[in-house]
Symmetry: C2
Subunit: 516 residues, 2 copies
Amino acid sequence: MDTLDATQAAPQRRSRGARPQRGHSGRALGVPYIVRNIPTYDILGEENLLKIEKVAERILSEVGIEFRDDPVALDHWKKAGANVDGVLVRFEPGMLNEIVSSAPSQFTQHARNPAHNVEIGGKNVVFSPAYGSPFVMDLDKGRRYGTLEDFRNFIKLAQSSPWLHHSGGTICEPVDIPVNKRHLDMVYSHVKYSDRAFMGSITAEERAEDSIDMARIVFGKDFVDRNCVILGNVNVNSPLVWDGTMTKSLRAYARANQAAVIVPFILGGAMGPVTNAGAIAQSFAETLAGCALTQLERKGAPVIFGNFLSSMSLRSGSPTFGTPEPAIGSMVIGQLARRLKLPLRCAGNFSNSKLPDAQAMQEGVMSMLSAVHCGANFILHSAGFVDGLLAMSYEKFVMDTDFCGALHSYLAGVVVDDNTLAMDAFLQVGPGSHFLGCDHTMRNYQTAFWDSALSDNEPFEKWSEEGGSTDMATRANRLWKKTLAEYEAPPLDVAIDEALLDYISRRKTSMADAWY
Amino acid sequence: MDTLDATQAAPQRRSRGARPQRGHSGRALGVPYIVRNIPTYDILGEENLLKIEKVAERILSEVGIEFRDDPVALDHWKKAGANVDGVLVRFEPGMLNEIVSSAPSQFTQHARNPAHNVEIGGKNVVFSPAYGSPFVMDLDKGRRYGTLEDFRNFIKLAQSSPWLHHSGGTICEPVDIPVNKRHLDMVYSHVKYSDRAFMGSITAEERAEDSIDMARIVFGKDFVDRNCVILGNVNVNSPLVWDGTMTKSLRAYARANQAAVIVPFILGGAMGPVTNAGAIAQSFAETLAGCALTQLERKGAPVIFGNFLSSMSLRSGSPTFGTPEPAIGSMVIGQLARRLKLPLRCAGNFSNSKLPDAQAMQEGVMSMLSAVHCGANFILHSAGFVDGLLAMSYEKFVMDTDFCGALHSYLAGVVVDDNTLAMDAFLQVGPGSHFLGCDHTMRNYQTAFWDSALSDNEPFEKWSEEGGSTDMATRANRLWKKTLAEYEAPPLDVAIDEALLDYISRRKTSMADAWY
């Protein structure tokens, strides 16, 4: 393997260094992560950013945040000088900013295949599958509860895509496995069926620690203590409550020098104000407190500043996803996170559609573009998300990974150099001719345009007569089946495999099954 | 009617001044055009912009542009000091920039209902239907050639949408009408079935003049000489050729003080270089020359700097639409047009899909967002475009207008003021409660979130049991039929109507039918 630097010159210089993968379209493609070549889209000026930060400060100092069922967290806050009143904690302005300054602005998450290590922070963009759906769906069998088999299938689809960079975490809930044991099977599946970086459990402190222990088996104890190899995605119980389950998991990851992703999920009008500016201020306050707690647990531990804005249907009160207000709000979150110098998780490919249809991609694209525009470094929910994250769609998963491919070209921006400016071509071709066979075209056409594996670009007649008049969902249905059929597991050291299975076996026999 | 200023405070302050319309969702909404409250997305720095401008200068001075079959245009160039060699015209660096500086950076296009006047240029954004398809399609009857009935239907759908601002031009080709006469029926239909601003013909100089003459009947001769009331969209024959048909139409519009939209259509690798930077430089040169020619015909005439970048399928050689490279390239076009201080038409809602499916909206949204991000002022092709502009889809038309609605909220940005920051709500609600019934929510919820007429946001069970498990295309099919059934024509002065019909009758009897 070459050095990371060599693999990262620009997204469109594909496959240098890192092991090239065979893309859906048959081209050898793939980078371990994207280094963006376009700026972030900053929509607010300094004055307005300061106003939002000021309100966040007032929320933190005047209203405060409750930290429930975690005396250790309260001790941390007391020692740090916060005002602790029962479970309510208030923070002097500036205090949390000072505490989080010890967190790294960028860090490496190691994969068991070093060619798939990802850099999180800075100009880097990492795409990861969606996370947390109880249901799965496909065009053949409709919607049903997810199982471990589905979970493994999505890992295999992710691993097979050159356009994702990360194996994700709870891609779907494997509801056929007891709640208190499924994290063992999930972490094992990530290691077994993927060689990319992954996430562990956060649903209980001991499950977080199991996840990290399994990572220690894969990477070695000392290595894990010095390097990030696993992420834990912890949620605020908005508004302004951190539950002990989450803070204990958060602290478990930080204690092990692993990265917690700190994510409020704010449905505007329910868990936060119905107006964007207020929801952003609240989210900022909640995330800042969570990030600071990681540093009190272990100074210098990596942490990701996370966010998930959402909106509400005025007619039904249902949450809505992929709508314009959260998309535009994400750009502001990005600006605020960069002022803290913390890696960002924000937005993703969100949709409320129940099908892999026009709504799914309309909402998904608007939302996913906001993620890359806002400067998010780790984009959870990059693929598969439908029905307000209640279901993972097999078809949408491959549509979304295909769109992630488009974003590799998009984030490469417009390269301006003597070759791309093509003055030689103009001098050769001149007015009224064409560029089809000119030297410049022959030199550049193979890398000029992104090639979708799912979009139909044939003439209408060919599409209808030879192509069977398919829609994208039908083509996606074929593609995920073909991809699963062709999947090959990456090699895994037998000793590690056996040690993991032994660990799982011991842990499973130590507990009775629990289904809640 | 209030003044335009009063109607334009911000897109989300809907309906002040301009006559409010009943939106699809039943809410009274609609502004005559959008005043953007977010900045443009500028992706290139000064150094790279200068490099592109420099190559454009070299194209213009070293390679030149052919102006075919239009001796008047060549005369204009000679008088302006260009180097004219047969039909090949070369331009000294800076010469064209100097000439276009007489064009207005912003102008009003008047509608026959003054409440629908649009401001083109500056921070204003105008959405117009797609333009130029020979075919139409819907889910019931599939694809067929467009007719005058289809043409009128699309005008009615556009007029019924609160999210479009303009009636457009050749929304589809009415192929049941002779080629040399259909412009008369098209212009009449825009006036009869819509009271918004519209576009005229450019397929022959006399058809351009017919279109303008009909506008004179509607608005009065003197008014037309002093104000823009009709647009003509003229295409460069890329690479680097202006055909006489186009330049004569361009000059006809300019001569009448009406706005030509100057648009190269560059399919990278065919009509221009396969690399974005070169295609942008070429496009810039071609458009600049066209814009300058309008000023030589009539100094101060309004003109719109246009652009249409496209890409190519490497497998089939087919043009592709809604792909990442043209989307990102549009941002650069926007930066260049603003340096010229000219109103911009760029990008739109493009797709190559043959159906109103996931592909259609994936491509459409990526492309349409690039249009609003790049700062386009007049967005032709905002609705209906499928199959690489070979067909107008009834279903996609209403999907796209619905998405235009989302863009009204998106372009309103994040408003930061005491109300939206919601400090009062945080003080009232506190940790662990909810915002559903708090004063701030009650005060703001009705205008907080965009409400799609087509997205399904119901819980899965309700969607499947009560909603019939519809996809967005099916809902769109119902919506366009309902909209057409409920359409009411805006009032039209009887004398104007009769004068138009008389004009059409005289013109039609003066010519034999021509079908090519």
